[in-house]
Each structure stands twice: as C-alpha cells, then as structure tokens.
C-alpha cells in the first residue's frame, strides 16, 4: 500500500473530527499519547500473541521500543503520568495511528497502520452506568459517522468468573478454567478431564519423588532439595524449590480430589451456550442458576440494570445479541465486553470493540486498582462500511 490519497485522508480526518467532537461534547478530554512506547509493557503484559503482531525495535541507545499496537495501554500510561493520585472519574478520548503486523499479509481492511479513535473512562465507581455510557457513545459515534446498518454483540466475562466462583471446586481448577476461557477447545477438554479423572495429567513427578510424593509442602520441599542434590541437578530456570514443590503438591492433590460433579460441568457448558437477546439471555441464565441452587443475585441484578441503562440511553437493546462465550482475544478484558460489526461477503467485520478492563492499570504500575472501561473504533473500516465498500 503506497499510501492514502488526499481525498481519503480528508475523509478520515473529517470522520475523526465528527467523532471526537461528539466525545468532547460528552465530557471526554482529548489526549495525544506517544506513538513510540516502551516495548516492555506490551511484551510482558500481553504475551506472545500480541507481541508477534507488534512492531518492536531497538533505538540507537539500545532501548527496546514499540510502535503502539493500540491506544488503550498508551492512554493508561498517560493517565498514570498525569493523575498520579487518581481523582474520581477521568474521561479521555483520542484519535491517532496504531500499528499491527498482519501475519497473513496486509490490505485495506487489514492494514498494518491504521487510525484508531476511542474513548476511556477511568475511576468510575458505578460500573453499569459507566459501561452503558461507553457503549452508547460508541453507537452514537458510528451513527454520527453515517453508519446505519450494524449489529451489536455483547458479552460478560465478569459473569462467567462469578459463575465459576460459585461452583464448588479447588481454587486451582477454577484458575485453570478461567485461564482457558479464551480457547474453547482446550477449555472443553479441561472441563471433561476435571469431571472424569482430574489426576490423569500427573507426570514424572510421581516417579521422581517416589515415597515422598503426596506429602505436605515442607516435606515435599525437603525431599525435592535432597533429590536434586543427589542427582547433581542444578536449580536453574528461575523457579524456586518452593514454587516447584507447591505445584507438585497441587498435582498430588488433584489425584486425591473427587472429580468435578457432572452437573457442575454441564452447568458451565450450558452457561457458555447461552445466546440471544439480552433479556432472554438473562432469563435463561437465571433459570440455570436457580436450578443449580447458586446465588448470583448481585451479578444478575447488575446485568439487568445495565440493560435498562443502555435502553435509557437509546440503544435498541432488543436487537443486540448477548453471547455468554463472547470474549475478546485481548486478555485484558475483565467484565462487560461489546463489539459493533457489519456484515460483509466474507462474514461479520468488527468496526468497534470495547469493554471493561479493571486489571490493566495495576498491571502497568498503578498503586491502587483503577476501574476502567473503554472502546476503540477502527476508522478505516468504519469509513469503508459507511461508503458501502465492504
């Protein structure tokens, strides 16, 4: 792609101005975070799949830098720099380039450099109101840009986590299931194994530890230290004897633990299968929860309240679709998530996406947790959709 024509540039700029004016009118202050970011944050916070799509390089002084792959993390860094003490609710909007390597080749709709327009709301104590505000403004923005035909997909990672928290099982199993949420196949296999034979995955530690296998943490540590010394095996690789012993103990406990009840596994699968209009989905989830004898009234009340707030803001809730398994490939989302899509010949194309990411600020160095919800709009795709080019 040799570059944009003056006409295309002007159209994108005009579209961005329309959206930023709308955000500014709603109280969102414009910020312009750095394009060059320290690479560490993207490499260590997001893992290899984002890294493999991030342009990383070393500057002449030897510092590792990245071209920002999105503006969310840069906006969080901007917030931490300018609001070190935190101060109630802070609203930012932005517009600017972001860069992502496209492993299958880049083109107009999968560009490696693209303009992102977005907004972030930090520090709001009222989660549902903040979420309704962000999704409503996002929908207002794509409408203001001229898009009339689109679909809205909703999800809620917080609800899924609450469901797991409510089901009786060892904490390490819960952690494993939450970890695999992003990979349906692995998640399913893990669930099947936990419900059938949770100790099946035990490996060489049984043999290595011999009689010492299945003891307590202190005993396992002592035995492990002894065996490593006897075998002349150096302790390399960063993990301490305590860390290794703790996991050996966990795996030993898995062999002793009764399997996850089949009804619990079925409940999880049934929940993930929920899809439909938000109010219908809520009804379905409630009946699943009640049948299982769980109490998730606070979370479900929040879900219902969010729907009402969205409706009050003019979102046609009945035409949105809630999918319990809808997550995002970016690991940092923690709660409500949404995506605005347009139908194309090759399937739905995401135009904008956002949600709640309460863990990210602490991850990048905030002293106290900062609730955060935001959204980013893919402006090239939005323009193409408005022009009927996709």
């Amino acid at each position: 792609m040799p570059g944009k024509t003056a006409d295309l540039r002007a159209a994108l700029d005009a579209q961005a101005r329309t959206i930023i004016d709308l955000f500014a009118g709603a109280g969102y202050g414009f910020i312009d975070p750095d394009i060059l970011q320290p690479a560490d944050i993207f490499l260590d916070r997001s893992g290899e799949d984002i890294r493999s799509r991030t342009y990383v390089f070393t500057d002449p002084a030897g510092a590792e830098l990245a071209l920002r792959p999105d503006l969310t993390v840069p906006a969080c860094r901007y917030y931490l720099e300018h609001e070190p003490a935190g101060r109630g609710e802070v609203r930012y909007c932005y517009s600017g380039p972001a860069f992502r390597f496209q492993p299958d080749g880049h083109d107009e709709l999968r560009p490696r450099e693209f303009d992102q327009v977005g907004l972030e709301l930090f520090g709001s104590a009222d989660a549902e109101t903040a979420e309704a505000e962000i999704i409503a403004l996002t929908i207002d923005a794509v409408r203001a840009a001229g898009l009339s035909e689109f679909k809205v997909k909703l999800g809620d990672l917080g609800l899924f986590n609450k469901l797991l928290d409510g089901i009786d099982m060892p904490a390490r199993w819960r952690q494993r299931l939450k970890h695999h949420f992003w990979r349906p196949q692995t998640f399913h296999e893990t669930l099947v194994r936990l419900a059938a034979d949770p100790g099946a995955a035990s490996g060489r530690e049984v043999e290595f530890m011999g009689e010492a296998y299945g003891g307590g943490q202190a005993e396992t540590m002592a035995a492990l230290t002894g065996r490593l010394e006897e075998g002349g095996i150096p302790l390399v690789g960063g993990r301490s004897v305590g860390e290794i012993a703790a996991r050996v103990c966990e795996k030993a406990a898995d062999r002793e633990a009764p399997p996850l009840p089949r009804e619990s596994a079925a409940l999880i699968e049934d929940y993930l299968g929920v899809a439909g209009q938000p109010r219908d989905a809520l009804q379905r989830i409630m009946s699943l929860i009640v049948a299982a004898g769980l109490d998730m009234s606070t979370s479900l009340a929040a879900f219902a309240r969010r729907i009402t707030l969205m409706q009050e803001r003019g979102i046609p809730v009945e035409s949105c679709r809630f999918l319990a398994e809808f997550g995002r490939s970016l690991e940092y989302y923690t709660g409500f998530v949404f995506q605005i899509e347009c139908d194309t010949a090759t399937g739905p194309m995401p135009i904008a996406g956002g949600g709640r990411y309460d863990g990210l600020m602490s991850d990048i160095g905030a002293r106290n947790p900062v609730p955060a919800v935001g959204c980013a709009i893919h402006t090239e795709r939005l323009l193409a959709a408005v022009r009927g080019e996709i």
């Binding site: 490499l43 260590d44 893992g47 290899e48 799949d49 890294r51 493999s52 492993p103 952690q175 494993r176 970890h179 695999h180 992003w182 990979r183 692995t186 995955a201 490996g203 060489r204 530690e205 290595f208 530890m209 492990l224 490593l228 095996i233 150096p234 302790l235 390399v236 690789g237 960063g238 993990r239 860390e243 290794i244 996991r247 050996v248 795996k251 690991e331």
Partner: protein, 232 residues
C-alpha cells in the same frame, strides 16, 4: 525469467560435504572452477546450471524471494524463514542427512513439567511469582509461536538467541528453550529435558524447488533432470 537454473547448496561443514556427495553419486559432480574459495560452481554435464554456495539460512531466504530455483537446506530453516512455504516453494526430496529435531526443552529440575500443558500452567504461576513472563530462548521465532499457539501456551515471551541457546537457562537469560538437537547430549549436559509432546519438527536436509521455476519450461526441464538423477 530466462537464463541458467540456479541451484543453491550449503557452503560449509557436513551439510556441504553430504550435498557434494549426493550430486557426485548422481553423476552430477559439482566443482568450483579455478578459485577454490569462490562462491560459484558448475555441474558436470549440465551447462545451464549455476551452483551457488551459500549459508543454509541464506538459502532459505533466497528460495522465499525467488532468487534461486533449487536449494538444499535444512527443513527447520526453510519452515522458520518461510511460514507460508506452499506459496513460495515445495519440498521435492528429503535427503536423509542433516537430521535434527526442533524441540521444546525445560530445566531438568522442573520435575512437575512433562508436557506443553504443564508449561502453560507454569507460565501463569511464573508470571504471578516473578516480575516478567516466562522466557523462551530460541532462534526459531515462527516455529515457536506457531507450535505454542497450537498447544495453547500463551503466557510466554520469546528472547532471541543466536548461539549456545542451550546455555540460556543456566545463564539466567531464559527459563525454557526451543532448539535443534540430534542426540540430545548437549541438552542433557546443560540439564535440560525435552517435553514429552515437545517435538516441533523432525528436520533433515531437503531439496526445495521454488514455484517460479515452473514458469520457465527450460528451467522446469532442467530441474526435473536433476531431481530424476538424485532420485535414482
């Protein structure tokens, strides 16, 4: 693209010797005219073949870029350098030498880690307990990313290693490695252990043919002649 057919072969070591042996046995002996230190050679009986002596990794890059027509190199380098190999070239012969496995190995002391699934779980604990992601030292970025993604391992970070990869864990530069091994001796000597399902690729020297060759009938015929000769 008219002109002679370019065959690229490794310029040093066992790989070069075995390759020269292969062609000599096939009756297509390769010689470097005049200057023994040159990087160009000729093939006996086939005047329209130009032989280029290059490093094995350069050969993979040239195949990708279409600047050589036939090449002999390790399958590991080929698949690492050309993730979408089918679009650029195809492997037309496996040569039975230069064999080595690309594997995932972890410290021997990690007795609780036998599989990629264990590694995935440990990567989560590791990130919580340490201030950085679990690091995998390798020169095989693409092979590693693809294999780890297939196996569902996400919470790691690649650190580049251009030599003595097996020493990275002991040096504190990485926790695990992806590297090539033929006997496993070097890994054992460095107190590393291959994961049970950690075999990424069983590699050997291969003859690879760039897709562009087929656009030129004369070159395609020459390539067929060479292939037939070594297949016999």
């Amino acid at each position: 693209m008219a002109g002679p057919l370019t065959l690229a072969i490794p310029s040093k070591g066992r790989l070069m010797e075995d390759t020269l042996g292969l062609f000599a046995d096939a009756g297509l002996a390769i010689s470097k005219p005049g200057n023994d230190r040159g990087y160009r050679g000729t093939m006996e009986g086939l005047d329209d073949v130009e032989v280029a002596f290059l490093s094995a990794s350069e050969i993979a890059r040239h195949v990708r870029d279409g600047t050589v027509d036939l090449g002999i190199t390790g399958e590991d380098l080929l698949r690492e350098t050309i993730p979408d190999l089918e679009r650029h070239a195809r492997i037309v012969a496996r040569l039975g030498f230069g064999g080595a496995d690309v594997v995932v190995a972890v410290p021997e002391c990690w007795i609780d880690v036998s599989t990629m699934s264990d590694l995935d779980e440990v990567s989560v604990h590791f990130y919580q307990a340490h201030d950085h992601r679990l690091r995998v030292a390798t020169k095989y970025f693409n092979l590693t990313r693809r294999f780890f993604a297939e196996k569902g391992v996400r919470g790691y970070r690649i650190v580049e290693s251009l030599g003595a990869t097996e020493a990275a864990p002991a040096a504190g530069a990485a926790e695990a490695i992806v590297d090539i091994t033929s006997t496993g001796d070097t890994l054992r000597a460095n107190h590393l252990r291959i994961l049970d399902d950690g075999l990424i690729l069983k590699s050997e020297a291969v003859l690879v043919r760039a897709v562009g060759v087929d656009a030129d009938p004369a070159k395609a015929r020459l390539a067929d002649t060479i292939l037939d000769a070594i297949a016999d």
